[in-house]
């Protein structure tokens, strides 16, 4: 692979995406492989993200590797005022790869330019989270058997949802039809609609969570109180975008519900038993996808 780093999903060609997905499928069949023997991976979490960190650490552990790092910036030299560049240049001396989560946008790109070891972006502010996007693509392909010509329904916070924006961009090469369901305050930004217009792709916008019968994928996201300028609006809308079991009646047989997690209340817990619920398996797929990314970038696969 040409890319030594994984900073942005748009860095990857269609072929490279498929390489990763195929490799992830291999790891799903055989997750415990001693490929990272004698390798040290740095996991630098400048802001906490327990789920993503554990997923990476699980992936590294199943590959027989060791990891070093910190779980939030207060326990690192950043709290002493060290620049990102200095942190990265130092940690690059201690490790074979750097996996980083940072609240500042563009930090992973910058790190990849100063680091002498590969950098994997585990989320940079509201910008990119490419390993999440790849595991979403893996989950979609696994459940649908294809990535082409699907109807994807995005529900919830479509304005700030980084996972939504990245997945939307990544799916644009597969002739996707998009359906956006959100409160007015959190609707999909115009720049993404312009992006889809330029690509000649179809999209529909709805205010109500209904009419899911065309859905192949229902991608749920969390609506956060702090995103609303008017607290009254939040109170009015918070219960309008909750997926309930009966809403899945009459949907297609292949319909699957995805969610990047953590969930709060936007999916009723009784949906968990529905065979169309896929979000916990999606999280498991994250480990295989990250195994694929790590070994591929290090040239071990």
């Amino acid at each position: 692979m040409e890319n030594k780093n994984l900073v942005s999903i748009t860095d990857y060609s269609k072929e490279e995406i498929f390489e990763i997905l195929d490799l992830a499928a291999e790891f799903e069949k055989n997750p415990n492989q001693n490929l990272l023997n004698n390798k040290v991976i740095a996991t630098l979490f400048f802001e906490p993200s327990t789920r993503t960190r554990l997923s990476f650490e699980s992936a590294i552990s199943r590959l027989g590797g060791k990891y070093i790092g910190f779980t939030d910036a207060s326990s690192s030299s950043v709290s002493k005022g060290e620049s990102l560049k200095d942190t990265i240049m130092t940690v690059a001396n201690y490790s074979d790869m750097i996996i980083m989560r940072h609240p500042i946008e563009g930090s992973a790109r910058w790190a990849s330019e100063v680091s002498r070891v590969p950098v994997v972006n585990a989320g940079d502010g509201a910008n990119q989270h490419p390993t999440q996007t790849l595991l979403d693509l893996y989950s979609i392909r696994k459940t649908q058997g294809t990535l082409d010509n699907l109807n994807i329904f995005f529900v919830g916070d479509l304005k700030y949802g980084r996972t939504v924006h990245s997945l939307l961009q990544a799916m644009a090469i597969f002739n996707t039809t998009y359906h956006f369901i959100s409160p007015k305050e959190l609707r999909i930004p115009d720049e993404y609609k312009l992006f889809l217009d330029r690509k000649g792709l179809k999209y529909h916008e709805y205010r109500e969570l209904e009419e899911l019968k065309d859905a192949d994928i229902i991608y749920m996201t969390r609506i956060q109180r702090e995103r609303f300028s008017d607290p009254m609006e939040y109170e009015k809308t918070k219960n309008a975008y909750i997926l309930k079991n009966e809403m899945l009646e009459g949907t297609k047989e292949n319909t699957k519900v995805l969610h990047p997690l953590p969930r709060v209340n936007e999916i009723d817990t009784n949906v968990d038993e529905n065979e169309k619920a896929y979000y916990f398996t999606q999280a498991l797929n994250g480990v295989y996808t990250r195994q694929a990314i790590i070994t591929h970038i290090l040239g071990l696969k």
Partner: protein, 151 residues
Amino acid sequence: MDDKKLQVSAIKDGTVIDHVPASGLFKVINILGLDKLDKQITFGTNFESKRLGRKAIIKIADVFFKDDDINRIALVAPEAKLNIIRDYKVIEKKIVEVPDSIKGIAKCMNPKCITNHEGIVTKFTVVSKKKVSIKCHYCEKITDSEHMEIF
């Protein structure tokens, strides 16, 4: 009357920058560092222009710019034209061209961008040349011409 006008504005040797949008005049002055020059400089603004609405003209005596400097003004005056004057005659015309990528001239408008937090030279790809907008190499956010700040 015409003769008198010519006496005021004509230069023997130097550079005339025409087709600067009136709103970009002072930015151009800033970018080229004209406020620090000790040469004779004449400028006029709010002239009528079919293409730009209102335009400005700058005449700088005895100064000839490098192409790199000219590219710097492309961000605020993408349609500017330069006339190089020798002995009262236009000996060369240059068109300002918006480059495909920009390094270190503009500031990213995203306050959460790494370039606004650490001493990094900004890098952009130009996504639109007519009404200039640029995409940050780092945070991937777009800065449009209204929000463009020049270093």
